[in-house]
């Protein structure tokens, strides 16, 4: 899964630690999502969308769109 988390985070001026604190997860979680190594759970994806005031689809794009 590809994502725009790094760009959105930069736009908002959040550090990885700040975003992790807002979401209640570890900083390693944010790092791994940004690198595309970790697909977040649905509740976390909703929390991310709420944090950036957008939809989940605005952040995440499946590798394969049929």
């Amino acid at each position: 899964m590809q994502n725009k988390l790094k760009e959105l985070r930069a736009e908002q001026g959040f550090s990885q630690q700040k975003l992790a604190d807002l979401l209640g997860v570890s900083r390693q979680t944010i790092i791994s999502i940004e690198k595309g190594k970790f697909d977040p759970s649905l509740p976390l994806a909703f929390d991310l969308a709420r944090t950036f005031n957008c939809s989940i689809e605005d952040i995440f794009t499946p590798d394969r769109l049929d």
Binding site: V25, S26, Q28
Partner: protein, 153 residues
């Protein structure tokens, strides 16, 4: 609910108080619990142990009982570095993957071990076999967790 500034390494108890109070409760209760378990061992052993054997048996139990008491009473929101939603963190994913991997490895190892001991008619003491199996579980899980953490898979 406590804020980030009030967090400490060992946190505070769910019922309030300082970090020192929680540590004291854990150490004292842990010592009493360890002595109780050791006394139980003494009784089961039909007093084959000398009285000071109770203290000796309590020693290895003490860290476990003290840590258990601490884990039961600590308010995790007061521990420095503890995240609010650990279930959504990647560490939880590594843990789950390590549990799956280690289950398969342990089943395979124990299955092969059982087969080998049956074929060659080997005999071991039950307590030693169970201790070895427990150690195997710990080691395999640790290695699997590190593998998933480092490879990100």
């Amino acid at each position: 609910m406590h804020n980030t500034q009030e967090r400490s390494t060992f946190g505070r108890a769910k019922f309030g108080g300082s970090s020192t109070l929680l540590i004291t409760i854990s150490l004292v209760s842990g010592a009493l619990l360890a002595l109780l378990f050791a006394f139980g061992i003494y009784l089961v052993q039909d007093s084959k142990l000398p009285w000071w054997g109770i203290l000796l048996a309590a020693l290895p139990l003490y860290p476990v009982t003290a840590a258990t008491i601490w884990a039961i009473f600590v308010d995790r929101n007061t521990i420095k570095g503890a995240v609010k939603n650990p279930e959504n963190s990647i560490e939880n994913s590594w843990f789950s993957k390590a549990a799956e991997s280690s289950f398969c490895i342990i089943v395979a190892v124990l299955g092969i071990g059982a087969g080998v001991t049956a074929i060659f008619d080997l005999e071991f003491q039950t307590d030693m076999v169970l201790t070895a199996a427990t150690m195997l579980c710990f080691i395999v899980f640790f290695v699997c967790y590190q593998f998933h953490k480092r490879t990100g898979r």
